[in-house]
Chain length 327, copies 2
Amino acid sequence: MRVLVTGAAGFLGRLVVQELRQRGALLVDGREMPVTGLALADIDADALQAMAGGQADVALLPGPVDAPDTLAWLRAEVPELVIHLAGAVSGACEADFDLGMRDNVQAMIALIDACRGAGNAPVMVFSSSVAVFSCDANETLHETTLPAPRSSYGTQKLICELMLRDATRKGFLRGRAVRLPTISVRPGKPNAAASSFASGIIREPLAGQDAALPVRPDLRLHLASPECAVRSLLQAAALEQVALEGETTITLPGISVRVEEMIAALREIAGAEAAARIRPAPDPQIEAIVASWPGAIETPRAHALGFAADDGVETLVRNHIARTGAA
Amino acid sequence: MRVLVTGAAGFLGRLVVQELRQRGALLVDGREMPVTGLALADIDADALQAMAGGQADVALLPGPVDAPDTLAWLRAEVPELVIHLAGAVSGACEADFDLGMRDNVQAMIALIDACRGAGNAPVMVFSSSVAVFSCDANETLHETTLPAPRSSYGTQKLICELMLRDATRKGFLRGRAVRLPTISVRPGKPNAAASSFASGIIREPLAGQDAALPVRPDLRLHLASPECAVRSLLQAAALEQVALEGETTITLPGISVRVEEMIAALREIAGAEAAARIRPAPDPQIEAIVASWPGAIETPRAHALGFAADDGVETLVRNHIARTGAA
């Protein structure tokens, strides 16, 4: 089967592609199928080029998801599986409303239309986000809680979920939207996102650098490691469509972790010196945003469908060390 | 103030325009304001022309909502209030997916963008629908029930609600999406909609014609008269934005009525002969669709915001007689 990965040069995209290459075959809608061709789409043409690795079975589709070449590839090559990870991130969507509507909403409309044109009802796994939820004070939500996004990003992800759900009902594709927890530890550099610290307080100390802690240590986060996120995306592809019973959105399990528990895990694994590199730098604005995120989400349906969270906060730290060779 | 009504030539649009002309002034976001200019948009150019009535203060905007002239009018004339009723209806959206995406979703995106361009954050009242909900067996839902639409129409209405909510948060406009109950008695002819009988079993007998009853008489419907719907749309315009607390979607109260109660009311008001014109014609397909609609919806928030249902099933019948002179 052919597989299209959008946002392939992003940090999750890279891990997904790596996993697809290692596995060689994949369960898709309950059937084991060999991966015979990969198409990688990403806005970053140079990064894509570097990912091809001289392999003949890889099609490169630089540009936005709704670039004519990408949509034409989909219609002509009729992939069995589309893993749609591309999209504008939360900070960018809030700063530039039009960007988010274009790269998230309009891109999804075009992608659904191309899948419909392909005619084989491909399986589409879409990376949504727990940002569709909001709460008052970091409380515990349930996967069936009414989403009430407080950001354009969360709104757009929810709109995409709904479009995927209806396109599945119409038989245009076989959709599965997975709401990813906050990812920790993200590779790369700190950024302007309110969630940046949730990776920074592990990543930076392991690299011998200081990290700022803008929030109260007793705030809770619903977290998953990048490895858990990738495993879950592929588990979503594997599911038999009938198991979803028409409800194509799945809120992924995460581990509910207090910030102070993350620091304790870092201390346990990398020592007191590493933990001491975390410097309290209270930022009421960031604290308010983080407090509007659920501190935990109960996900019995996702568990019943075979999804599982990381087995503990230490795993977040150890996965990062194993992947990057840090510390 | 200037007021734009889209879908102005539709049956609700006509009643809204009539009401605006009669009242002359309107509460909008808590402030009483005189209506100094009306703009009427509708796909039906001839019907629009007939509605102008030679009045100089009426701008006619024939064509779809996102026609360049309509969007330019919005940006240039800066209306205080937009009542957005235009849209593809449920049967049409199910038969023609692209039509629904264009006339419902893309039209809303363009309308929001034009409101943003107007720069005055106009109040926008949007007619959504209880079709965003679904249920298993005609049960009672609550206004906070998680919407799970089973139609492209319901999905698209929900998407529009979410866009309106985010556009309000961003300050582009002041949105209020009202989920209309099933309307009874709709004027006009029977149509292919599953809900057609909910008006037909009153309207046709009052006009001396037979009406088919495709469903069990003990099924319940969440209903509102056209007059109640119009009153609710204008009540939504009147609300102070702060009263919505960021949640711009309002599920309107309706009366929960068994089909047999509708028939009894018709018999009471128009006599046994009229009621005898209703002929049982069981249609399992229509019955299954109607059973997937809520039999009642609890709406405490809407009541607290000042919305009210009709005062009984007899009112549905009497409103129709008063409006049309039937019987």
